[in-house]
């Protein structure tokens, strides 16, 4: 288990270094001078030069890369060009929208997908299974932003149960914070739940055909008991993989949903920063997301090992 964990850790570190190089290179290569953007079409060249100097944009590429990476290692993400506030503060504020939203959506997704998947697998070929599979087909096909608009139309404009967007802040209470995140979380969760339910069902069906299930049945377990005691646990490996991928997607992929519900999350921050060429914010937020994704994958790898003892020794 220790060797396995160490191996995973080394690959985690390498991934981070490669990611930081790629992010920095891509962001720096794209044309667009942040200083010129901030000053607009009437600015004089000497004003733009003065602002470039003020923002520290006149160093060499190597200097800026090293400055950025060493800063991050010390927890200093730099200062946003346009907002003129430390990037770490901006991320600190916004992660409390994006992270709860991703977790909320993931919980909803799991709460819907597990029962639906297990139910469909246990009713294979019967109307219940066909109904669930039809619904998930629809869920996979509907894009989440369109679904979000429909939710707003019904629950915000017609019924007035929720506001059409915005985030009330956790200061106003956990309840009202959760309320602001409910429609976005549902919009994010349903397509994910549909995918997860399908994976859960097919993985369970594979397991139900395995020898050890037949053995369990032969030893006197009912179909339901065999399913719950043996099949579900073993079917979890592919499901965990999908959950890990989905969490990463929900964190970074909230960009569109955060636009639709004008939530002050990380996705919206990246969106604004890219159009304003706030390079330091783009680099740091993307790096943070990459870090989170890699850490989540690392956690999933460890979870595999917890679920499947064979993996602990193999690596």
């Amino acid at each position: 288990m220790i060797r396995y964990t160490l191996g995973r850790l080394v690959s985690l570190g390498l991934s981070l270094v490669v990611a930081s190089l790629v992010i920095f290179a891509v962001v720096e290569v794209v044309p667009g001078d942040p200083a010129a953007y901030m000053l607009g079409v009437n600015a004089r060249p000497d004003t733009v030069a003065a602002l470039r100097a003020e923002l520290g944009l006149d160093g060499t590429v190597q200097e800026r890369y090293l400055g950025w990476v060493t800063g991050m290692l010390q927890g200093d993400f730099g200062v946003s060009y346009t907002y003129r506030t430390p990037v770490s503060e901006m991320i600190g504020d916004r992660i409390w929208v994006s992270l709860p939203l991703a977790l909320y959506a993931l919980s909803l997704s799991v709460l819907i997908a597990f029962p639906a998947g297990i139910y469909a697998a246990s009713r294979r070929g019967r109307p219940g299974d066909i109904g669930v599979m039809g619904a998930t087909q629809l869920g996979v096909a509907i894009p989440n932003f369109w679904f979000a608009m429909i939710l707003v139309l019904i629950f915000a404009i017609k019924l007035r149960w929720f506001s059409a967007g915005g985030f009330s802040g956790w200061d106003a209470g956990v309840w009202s914070g959760l309320k602001s995140l409910t429609l976005p979380a549902i919009a994010l969760a349903l397509p994910q739940a549909a995918i997860l339910a399908r994976v859960m069902r097919s993985s369970l069906l594979d397991m139900l055909g395995e020898d050890f299930i037949r053995t369990a049945r032969a030893k006197g377990l009912s179909r339901r008991q065999a399913l719950w005691r043996h099949a579900v646990r073993n079917a979890l490996i592919p499901v965990l993989t999908i959950i890990g991928l989905q969490f990463s997607f929900l964190l970074a992929g909230g960009i569109v949903i955060e636009q639709v519900f004008f939530l002050p999350g990380l996705g919206r921050l990246i969106f604004q920063a890219i159009s304003a060429r706030d390079l330091i914010v783009v680099e740091s937020v993307v790096m943070l997301l990459v870090f989170l994704v890699i850490v989540v994958n690392f956690a999933v790898d460890l979870a595999y090992a917890a679920v499947d003892p064979r993996l602990r020794t193999r690596a």
Binding site: A36, Y83, A156, R160, G165, G166, A276
Partner: protein
């Protein structure tokens, strides 16, 4: 009913209860873009001025909604006979939000800072003619210019020329301290910004106790937020196709006002074939302005025939010079030696007037034989390559600065128009203070650039505001980017 159900019901009632209580003293105002920071003297972003202009910061003079310039922090002024020295008398008893007094020293500080060597003021040109700022006494300040400047008082009304204090300048980007009728309260970046009434305001106090700005960029989200009554006012509503729906709804009012945004199809005057005036004229006649306004702007916008705002009293209607006439256009191209037309690039920045307008213009140009390769660009990319690098044949952009016909006198400006006769007119204009003579010169200037077909002049950008019915005192027009809430009242 069990205890549990009762609890659950009570819980869900609290969950769904909306804050739809009677609002009389606060207001939710939405706009599309969030200001990057709150320093109007250090960036060109219009969103900064939208929030702070007149609400938080004030200048020596100020704009009214109709575009007129009236006294601001300066109560009155005298201009020397040679037009070089302006002596401003400041209002007595004006203080900044942090309690410090606003006096002539602050005016000197603000103007000197804006024109300094290392200034990052986006409109540094406004201050270029100032040679000296002298404090006479705490309420009198004298500004000396190197040459008479007829638009000096106009220039001082810009958001970039507001009066700031040396005590609070370091944090101006995040904690703006001005003299206005509202004080900055808080800013949850990415979501909302709140200002509250300044009870020690020197002038007429605001009727509203507080105002919250929300930043909603997605057109669908903007529509939903208005319909759900989450916001009370949306300035610059991004979905013009939905305006009829708001007009028909008694809960709302729709105001359509003017801006200073001359939207033009800019041509690279140094690049062949656009260096030939016949080709530029051919382009001008190939464009059907009304079709662009109807198709791209849902009918909002006034056609223009030169680079000047139609609501300005000095505007001359020259649309007749570039009437839609494809046959004439083809004939002009043949005369220019391009009977089969040519191919060029059309660079489009993000706003819908450019992206939607660009598609229509491309089709109209194709009808006379001009093929365009459309390239969509982000703003920063457009600024660097098209505007800065002058790498374009055609591009569409709205010039939103007020009274900016002077850009045609700069041969290095991105469309690279170099005409000494025009430059001469602008130099004379700057030195002229007599209103009648100025009107005459401005008319000349408009005519020169219209007859030279420097750019394709499309339309004056309109600004639609959607508000809850009964709200009064909102600016109809946008002579400068501003959401001035100082005179806004609920019914």
């Amino acid at each position: 009913m069990t205890r549990f159900t009762r609890l659950a019901l009570a819980g869900s009632a609290a969950f769904f209860a909306t804050a739809a209580t009677a609002q009389t003293t606060d207001i939710n105002v939405a706009m599309q873009l969030e200001p990057p920071n709150l320093d109007p003297t250090g960036g060109a972003a219009q969103a900064i001025d939208s929030v702070v202009y007149s609400n938080i910061f004030e200048g020596l003079t100020r704009f009214m909604s109709d575009g007129s310039v009236v006294p601001g922090l300066a109560e009155s002024w005298e201009i020397s006979d040679d037009g070089l020295v302006y002596t401003f008398t400041l209002h007595d008893g004006v203080s900044f939000h942090d309690g410090t007094t606003m006096d002539a020293e602050d005016v000197k500080f603000s103007l000197d800072r804006a024109r300094a060597e290392d200034s990052t003021n986006a409109q540094k040109g406004l201050f270029a003619g100032i040679t000296d700022v002298t404090v006479i006494d705490p309420l009198t300040v004298q500004v000396t210019l190197d040459a008479p400047n007829g638009s000096f008082l106009f220039n001082m009304a810009w958001g970039d020329a507001v009066i700031v204090a040396p005590e609070s300048i370091d944090d101006i980007a995040s904690t703006p301290i001005g003299t206005g009728a509202f004080k900055f309260d808080s800013w949850v970046q990415g979501d909302r910004l709140t200002i509250t009434r300044n009870d020690d305001y020197w002038g007429t106090p605001a009727a509203l106790e507080s105002a919250t700005f929300r930043f909603i960029s997605d057109p669908t989200a903007a529509f939903a937020a208005m319909m759900a009554e989450d916001v009370d006012v949306y300035v610059g509503f991004p979905a013009p196709e939905n305006l009829p729906q708001f007009e028909a709804d008694p809960r709302f009012q729709v105001l359509v006002g003017n801006t200073e945004g001359e939207t033009i199809l800019a041509m690279n005057n140094k690049m062949p074939p656009f260096d030939n005036v016949l080709v530029r004229e051919a382009v001008a006649h190939a464009i059907d302005r009304q079709a662009i306004i109807d198709g791209a702007m849902y009918g909002l916008g006034t056609p223009i025939g030169t680079h000047f705002a139609p609501h300005n009293p000095d505007y001359v209607d020259l649309t007749g010079l570039s009437e839609y006439d494809p046959d004439r256009s083809r004939a002009l191209l043949a005369e220019a030696g391009l009977p089969d037309g040519f191919t060029t690039t059309l660079k489009l920045p993000p706003p819908s007037y450019a992206r939607r307008g660009g598609e229509i213009i491309a089709a109209q140009l194709r009808a006379v034989g001009i093929e365009t390769e459309i390239e969509n660009q982000e703003w920063a990319q457009w600024l660097e390559t098209t505007f800065g690098g002058k790498d374009f044949g055609l591009t569409i952009v709205s010039h939103t600065e007020p009274m900016d016909i002077g850009i045609y006198a700069n041969p290095d400006y991105y469309f690279q128009y170099d005409n000494p006769a025009f430059q001469e007119v602008m130099t004379t204009l700057e030195a002229t203070t007599d209103p009648a003579a100025r009107s005459d010169l401005l008319a000349q200037a408009q005519r020169i650039i219209a007859e030279d077909y420097v750019n394709g002049y499309l339309f004056e950008l309109a600004v639609p505001t959607v508000a809850r019915a009964g709200i009064e005192g909102l600016w109809l027009n946008q002579p400068t980017a501003a959401i001035d809430l100082t005179g806004v009242t609920w019914p």
